[in-house]
């Protein structure tokens, strides 16, 4: 039985693209078996991105996202190898049984961006008004929450 998964690798940004390809090749060989000669469904290089927080001294990572289908029994060995590889600074395997995911974030069009901005604002003000409403019963709690926020 095969299941669908999705993995995100973050490679050391010092690694060049051919090196990354070579590593991926090596990892992916482990996912194949006789029933399933073509496990990889979708491979997507995001390229270099700034990390939201430093991981092991790295500020920038090279992202690769892949969808694949494989037998769950092959995963532990695959993950072991990925963990051992030093040029992979982080990875995440996720079960992907739902609908087929949309490929990577697409840059929004100008018009669309504006309308969604307006939407965000209106929902913001809505949130605020409900906030003040909540103060009646919950004001104490909220004030405390803010205080701890400020303290930390």
């Amino acid at each position: 039985m095969t299941r669908r998964y999705e993995i995100v690798y973050i490679f050391d940004s010092a690694a060049e693209e051919p090196q990354v390809e070579e590593q991926l090749e090596r990892f992916h060989a482990l996912l194949k078996n006789s029933d399933n000669p073509e496990p990889i469904k979708n491979l997507n290089h995001w390229g270099k991105r700034t990390l939201a927080y430093p991981i092991g001294g790295h500020e920038i990572g090279y992202y690769v996202v892949m969808q694949f289908a494989t037998d769950p029994t092959l995963l532990p060995e695959f993950e072991r190898l990925v963990k051992l590889e030093e040029s992979v600074i982080r990875y995440q395997v996720v079960l992907n049984e739902g609908e087929v995911p949309v490929p990577a974030p697409v840059p929004e069009k100008d018009g669309e961006a504006k309308s969604s901005d307006g939407e965000a604002k209106s929902s913001d003000s809505e949130a605020k008004s409900s906030d003040s409403e909540a103060k009646g019963s919950n004001g104490d709690f909220e004030a405390r929450e803010e205080a701890t926020d400020a303290a930390s």
């Binding site: 995440q92 996720v94 929902s123 949130a127 409900s130």
Partner: protein, 72 residues
């Protein structure tokens, strides 16, 4: 006085499943400190709030979103 029921912003976007890789959308559902916004403030439905929680945690793990952000 009763307020009109808030509608879920995720439903309004027409999204069935929240994607953890879409950090621009997720950004709307965290505070400036990086905490997950409560339903009370964001108005999301229960299903989407659950999905958002998972998605934000996944996005944090792959460094798309911060765990905490210090105030500038």
């Amino acid at each position: 006085m009763r307020r009109a029921r808030k509608t879920c912003p995720v439903c309004e976007m027409g999204v069935r499943v929240v994607d953890y890789k879409d950090e621009r959308t997720l950004q709307r559902f965290i505070t400036d400190r990086g905490k997950i916004l409560p339903r009370r403030l964001s108005g999301t439905c229960a299903r989407h709030q659950r999905q958002l929680g998972t998605a934000i945690k996944r996005a944090r793990h792959i460094a798309l979103l911060p765990f905490i952000r210090s105030r500038a």
